[in-house]
């Protein structure tokens, strides 16, 4: 029995989802120098917003409208999150620790809020497309194929924007040298708002894709956040290529381990790999040292 195809397709699906969520984390770390523990909760909110707009028992406006609504809601939500619980601490002593607390608190608040508003019953978004295609000895659903293609395409578009657009250049400038960015006239406070909005939109995309593939629950973002955390440390904090490479490698290791060793021992194996990488390369695969 050939195990290659099922392992590979599973790795590509989860790799794309991890890459979407982890890029947001890594991007925020690179520019604002804080770690956003509410990123998983943002994914969850994206999925719920899409569900409320899409589901026939609620607004019933269809998946297209649901997807769009989730993107806009989370762009706005990401900006508000930054203004409410991150900006007040920027530039103060121990701001990084303070923001760990505030974003963790926000995550808990959002998860319980979702439980309170939507109830504990599992929800599910319709699939973006139905049907399967045969890939070697494995059937890959159209939904999975869309995830495999959409994730990297979106991140590629994002990378091109960072490379080419004036705003993208400004974002990279802030990441590389804050004082010099101030002195060429970049409004750093606006850049931070935009960075949060963009990373929340990436989380929303991941949320809608998750919501069609798995169940929507208030805590659906916890496991992806943990994996994204492993991914960014593994790939190198602040490095977009490192994060994407890290996402697919972690997904592949996870997928192989699940197939041959089992679900139960997979998390310890992932952390084992992470620790091994940290011992050899403390900054991650493609990361740089931050002071």
């Amino acid at each position: 029995m050939n195990a290659l195809a099922p392992i590979l397709s599973a790795a590509l699906v989860s790799g794309s989802l991890y890459a979407l969520l982890a890029s947001g984390l890594s991007f925020v770390w690179g520019t604002v120098r804080i770690f956003n523990f509410a990123q998983g909760a943002l994914l969850m909110i994206g999925a719920y917003v899409a569900w409320y707009v899409t589901d026939p028992s609620r607004a019933g406006a269809g998946l297209g409208a649901g997807f769009t609504a989730a993107l806009f809601a989370l762009a706005f939500g990401g900006a508000v999150l930054y203004l409410a619980i991150v900006r007040p601490f920027i530039g103060r002593a121990n701001s990084d620790l303070m923001v760990i607390m505030t974003t963790l608190a926000a995550a808990t608040f959002f998860e319980n809020g979702a439980d309170w508003v939507a109830g504990p019953r599992y929800k599910n978004l319709p699939r973006l497309a139905t049907g399967n295609i045969q890939f070697s000895n494995t059937a890959v659903s159209m939904q999975e194929l869309i995830i495999i293609i959409l994730g990297p395409s979106l991140l590629l578009a994002f990378a091109v924007f960072l490379k080419r657009a004036k705003l993208g250049m400004a974002i990279r400038a802030v990441e590389q040298n804050r004082d010099a960015a101030f002195l060429v006239g970049i409004d750093i406070r606006n850049i931070y708002v935009i960075v949060f909005a963009v990373s929340a939109v990436l989380a929303a995309v991941a949320g809608v894709l998750y919501g069609g593939e798995y169940f929507i629950t208030p805590t659906m973002g916890d496991d992806p956040l943990l994996k994204a955390f492993i991914v960014v440390v593994f790939g190198g904090l602040g490095s977009l290529p490192g994060t994407v490479v890290g996402a697919y490698m972690i997904a592949l290791i996870e997928s192989v381990s699940r197939y041959y060793i089992g679900l139960y021992y997979t998390p310890p194996i992932l952390f084992g790999v992470l620790i091994a990488v940290m011992l050899v390369r403390p900054t991650g695969l493609l990361g740089r040292a931050y002071q």
Partner: protein, 242 residues
């Protein structure tokens, strides 16, 4: 007497509770080139950082072109044409030379004229044109300093502040840079030049301030001829040159 472009009045500033500037006052006239010198750690860099808005004064007032900019955000100060080139050729290290220089024109005021200014800058520093596709961190110290100054010029300065542009450079590179700075000065841009190289200051500037312990301890008068001896006298007192 030329009309005053920049006025720093009785400004104090510092890092945390450590004061660095203690009631410093300087004036720069339109079209004037003014040099600041003095021992390290006595506030020259801090003064520039306070003028450009990277630091807030705890006391005093700064006006530029008749406008109070004491608490203005750096980006708004840049858009008035007050450009500060940082000490230690700090660039955006993982961007190309061209990207660095283009970012210098980020403010709305300068963006539309960027192609024109870029051509002028390549004329002034031909090496930057050759290196335009290279990452900034791979440049030599002198080239990085040229790129820094070029980035500043792309912002179309009304007042250009250069902080120790020749710091740590080999004599030959230093000369090259000094020539370029003189050329920039000849375009008529108002300039504040901080440097340890007195010869450079004397060749470019019309007036000098000696900054010590966070204030101006001596200054030369307008229209006064200054020689190397005068500067030594400012530094070490009468006895040294006598």
């Amino acid at each position: 007497m030329p009309s005053m472009l920049l006025k720093v009045e009785d400004v104090s500033a510092g890092y945390g509770r450590i004061p660095v500037l203690n009631g410093i006052s300087i004036e720069v006239g339109r079209g004037e080139r003014v040099g600041l010198f003095g021992p390290n750690g006595h506030g020259k860099t801090t003064l520039l950082r306070t003028i450009s808005g990277l630091m807030r004064p705890t006391h005093g007032r700064i006006t530029f072109d008749g406008r109070d900019i004491t608490t203005t955000a750096p980006k708004d100060i840049v858009s008035l044409g007050l450009i500060h080139v940082l000490q230690g050729n700090t660039l955006f290290p993982r961007m190309t030379v061209l990207e660095n220089v283009l970012l210098g024109a980020y403010s709305k005021r300068a963006w539309d004229d960027r192609e024109e200014n870029l051509a002028r800058i390549y004329e002034l520093f031909p090496i930057l044109k050759q290196r335009s596709r290279q990452l900034a961190r791979t440049l030599s110290g002198g080239q990085r300093q040229m790129a820094s100054i070029a980035t500043g010029l792309m912002g179309m300065p009304v007042l250009l502040m250069l902080d120790e542009p020749t710091l740590g450079l080999a004599p030959k590179v230093k000369d090259e840079l000094a020539t370029a700075i003189s050329e920039i000065a000849e375009t008529g841009v108002t300039m504040i030049l901080v440097d340890q190289d007195i010869e450079l200051l004397l060749s470019v500037c019309e007036r000098l301030y000696l900054v010590e312990r966070g204030r101006v301890s001596l200054e030369t008068r307008r229209g006064e001829k200054i020689s190397q001896e005068d500067v030594l006298e400012m530094y070490f007192g009468k006895a040294a040159s006598a």
